[in-house]
């Protein structure tokens, strides 16, 4: 299956080239994606799947849109 991945702010350096069409095994979770991208799970502050807050162990489905955020609090 394929999902869309977007990494924000400091996590942007882990953004995969094919982020619009990221291949993932059936039953793969957010944690699987995070580890495959080389991101330390503790560096991910907030996860969104299809625009809704999701936990690290969320199983993903074909066509899901995954957003990974670090903490952002600057002004």
């Amino acid at each position: 299956m394929h999902i869309t991945v977007k990494c924000y702010a400091t996590l942007q350096r882990f953004q995969p080239g094919g982020g619009e069409d990221f291949a993932l095994d059936e039953g793969g979770t957010v944690r699987d994606v995070v580890l495959r991208l080389g991101i330390a799970p503790e560096d991910v502050a907030v996860i969104f799947v299809n625009g809704l807050h999701a936990p690290l162990d969320r199983a993903l489905a074909d066509g899901d849109r995954l957003g990974l955020f670090p903490a952002v609090g600057g002004g």
Binding site: Y8, A45, V46, G51, L52, A71, V72, G73
Partner: protein, 291 residues
């Protein structure tokens, strides 16, 4: 005599015909006339502008707010109370926008003084102001930009319960703090005061703004519920620069106008979602803080 009774005929006398850029005729008050009328009636500039708008007269300084605003909407902004914590990169630009839009009563808080590292982005920071309090600069800026604004500047460091006191009686609360430490307390304080909170934050090319209605989870509750991040927050790595700050300030200002006009929020609440703009990719995402 009550100043409001004296205002009406003085305003009528001072009214002149004007036109909007599209040719629509309006009755307006020339810029200097507001101050003259206010002095003669013994009324404040803000009250004088409200009275003028209620008579259908547009003070010249607000002419280009029309017809995005109408006279009733402009008067409503002049009556609104906004409380803004933080006068740094976000806060300076937001305060400037509030004053120019014509928000009439603005409470601000910042305990800090300007330092040279603020000069890359903070509207209120100038070479001459380094080492001086940010709240003092806000007072000077409002006098220069829109003296009708009644500014209540707090110079204390707000912590814990202070935020509920600071946001009390406001129509709109804004969190423009820098860093994560005090944002959860600001969110809790706005909720305790029963005031909707618009929170903005930036790092590098990323800008995010969310509104939390009282009792809802906001930006702080989602991103750093304990006032600290598990790893260094993104702004400590990427810094903060004007492009993302100005986008965040614009998003926060548009939401503040909606709330002050009594319209539903678009960046939170039942029908809204937070906005995240990534200026590196030039993308806009709308994300829900519910659930």
């Amino acid at each position: 005599m009550d100043s409001s009774v004296m205002l009406r005929p003085l305003l009528e006398q001072a009214a002149i015909p004007g036109t909007l850029p599209d040719g629509t005729p309006v009755r307006m008050l020339a810029h200097g006339a507001v101050g003259d009328v206010a002095r003669r009636a013994g009324a404040s500039l803000r009250r004088t502008e409200i009275a003028a708008l209620e008579q259908g007269l547009v003070p010249e300084r607000y002419l280009r707010n029309f017809t995005t605003l109408d006279a009733a909407g402009q008067a409503r902004l002049l009556r609104a109370r906004v409380a803004l914590v933080g006068l740094g990169g976000l806060g300076g630009h937001i305060l400037e926008g509030l004053a120019r839009m014509g928000f009439g009563r603005i409470r601000v808080a910042d305990h800090d003084v300007f330092e040279p590292t603020n000069l890359n982005r903070q509207l209120l920071a100038t070479e001459a102001d380094c080492g001086t309090p940010k709240a003092d600069a806000a007072v000077r800026r409002m006098a220069l930009v829109n003296p009708a604004v009644e500014l209540d500047a707090w110079r204390d460091r707000l912590e814990g319960q202070d935020f509920a006191r600071f946001y009390a009686d406001a129509d709109v609360a804004i969190d423009a703090l820098g860093g994560v430490a005090f944002r959860p307390a600001a969110e809790a304080g706005a909720a305790a005061a029963g005031v909707p909170l618009i929170a903005a934050s930036v790092a590098g090319w990323t800008a995010m703004v969310a509104t939390a209605l009282p009792g809802e989870r906001g930006l702080a509750g989602m991103f750093f519920p304990h006032g600290r991040a598990a790893s260094p927050p993104a702004e400590d790595v990427l810094g903060c620069q004007p492009p993302a700050l100005l986008v965040a300030a614009g998003l926060a200002l548009s939401e503040a106008v909606r709330l002050a006009l009594g319209q539903p929020p678009r960046l939170g609440g039942p029908g809204g979602r937070m906005a995240v703009v990534d200026l590196a990719a030039v993308s806009l995402d709308r994300l829900s803080l519910r659930g």
